[in-house]
């Protein structure tokens, strides 16, 4: 039995399909759900944490169905939402103790101290939260989440709005939790973080999994070098043989090729012959960004901003 099993999970907000028949299973790893804003990451997490009822399909956490057996699910999980919600008029210790009491943890006092120590907050534990930095508040939330030793930890954008050092620290802590045997399910839109710190990533686009695997695996699927060119105006989609189109963002077009060094001059010639003005060319090893671009396709929004759908979504999310 996997820690998280998702089967055809679907959520509609009115006509808007936020999560579209998602099937996935996660066990004993740091799994990142990766995707642009509005791709259905948070909706998925809300359904898995029993905060939102799926329209269709089912999901289970530690063998308990999220709809039928919500309370059993909630005993096994911790959830840290995107917006930092800690009581600023209470001290760090009080904030964590509050959660320990709510979970009904035995020896709540010791567990509180322990959780604070794991998150390296012991020396500031008796200060009011209003004196804490953003990174410390996030760590405090993690301390709240692990005070009852959950089997599965859900983190929605755990590093959003934090500086580089604080992010690194958060990820190191997440790594420690993973080593203790916790399954960690994070959502993020920072590719580099997922690449560096996660065991497996699922790229989600318009509510569907577009690519799934370990970061190395996904990059290996591209395997080839990535050539990026900047052009003025249009460009034939496949100007020469031996290269593959990845995606386009604005003026930048990316291709992949087995041997980038040799293809580069050929491509330059071909483009010049085709009358395309090339402003810059570059070549590098693939990153998760490229995997993402290839999986999600063009990052340009085809329909623009659909205000009505957005409003329906906001209203339902309340």
């Amino acid at each position: 039995m996997d820690a998280i099993e998702i089967d055809n999970l679907t959520k509609y907000y009115g006509d808007l399909c936020a999560v579209d028949h998602l099937t996935l299973s996660v066990n004993n790893e740091i799994f990142a759900l990766l995707g642009p804003n509005g791709s259905g990451k948070t909706t998925t997490v809300l359904m898995l944490t029993t905060l939102l009822r799926p329209t269709e399909g089912r999901a289970s956490v530690c063998g308990n169905d999220v709809v039928l057996n919500g309370e059993a699910v909630r005993k096994k999980i911790s959830y840290v939402p995107q917006d930092m919600a800690v009581d600023i008029k209470l001290t760090g210790r009080e904030n964590v103790r509050f959660f320990a009491d709510l979970y009904g943890v035995p020896q709540a006092k010791d567990r509180t101290d322990e959780a604070l120590a794991i998150m390296e907050l012991s020396d500031r534990a008796d200060d009011l939260i209003r004196t804490y930095s953003g990174g410390m508040r996030r760590r405090l939330e993690l301390a709240q989440a692990l005070v009852h030793e959950p089997s599965v930890l859900f983190l929605d954008e755990p590093t959003i709005g934090l500086d580089v050092a604080a992010r690194k620290k958060i990820w190191e802590h997440i790594g420690t939790l993973r080593k203790k045997g916790m399954t960690v399910f994070v959502t993020t839109h920072y590719m580099d973080e997922a690449d560096q710190f996660c065991d497996r990533v699922g790229i989600i686009s318009r509510g569907q999994i577009a690519a799934l695997g370990s970061p190395t695996e996904l990059k290996a699927r591209l395997m080839k070098d990535v050539i990026t060119i900047m052009v003025e105006g249009d460009c034939p989609s496949l100007p020469v043989d031996g290269i593959e189109f990845i995606g386009r963002t604005g003026d930048e077009i990316s291709f992949s090729a087995e041997n980038g060094r040799e293809i580069l001059p050929v491509l330059a010639d071909a483009l010049t012959r085709a009358g395309v003005r090339v402003r810059a060319m570059s070549m590098r090893e693939p990153t998760l960004d490229d995997v993402f671009l290839q999986a999600v396709g063009s990052q340009e929004e085809p329909h623009g901003f659909e205000y009505n759908k957005f409003r329906i979504m906001l209203r339902r999310r309340k």
Binding site: L51, L102, G104, Q144
Partner: protein, 241 residues
Amino acid sequence: MNGVVTYIRRDFLKWTRGKVAVISSLVMPAAWLIFVGLALPVQFTGNYLDFITPGILVMTMLSAGLAGGALLMFDKILGFLNKFLALPTPRESILVGKILFITGRGLIQSTIILIISVLIGATILNPIQYGFTYLVLFLFGVLISGFATTIALYLDDHDSYAAFNTMISMPLFFTSSALMPYSVMPAWLATIARLNPLSYAIDAVREAGTGIIPVLPVGILVVLCAVMLAICMFVFRKVTV
């Protein structure tokens, strides 16, 4: 039950750390008591302070309840509610804890107002009379905090709720039997006052003060509380899953 106590403790700690809020919530009822209770020249009673004190006590509960209505809404807007809902603690304890906290806070404020009223010359009652006074204030507190929480959850917006709060608190107070008996009110006002739930609470406290056991008003308040809690629970369930 454990969850309820924990939620109440959190709100209570947060409340006591905001010194300004603790003091300022007492200023208005105290001012009414002193400036109106002691100063208004009325003919229908010898001790106006004794007459107005029940009204001011209920008003204290009213403003405490209306102010507390925003608490759950803020927990929701700021993301606390989602964290609480993902806990194994029974979800209803969030709501029950909130209503009991708001009511308890109102009772603490009412106690201070009651002490002030005695200090400036209100008649001291016997313990049974105080017991009934507190029972009525408690029931009224549950009623009004349930009502305020429901409205705030329903409006789901801080500005709208503040506007609603301002809109109803004064009219509710003035159309109740807080300031004068039904006999001296104009007929139209007396009709409104008899329908106003505030009047039930005020009359009940007043009856307790004169030595009558307020069975009927307490009964009505119990029924109103039950209905209000059912509505509140329904709205709470609706906004949570």
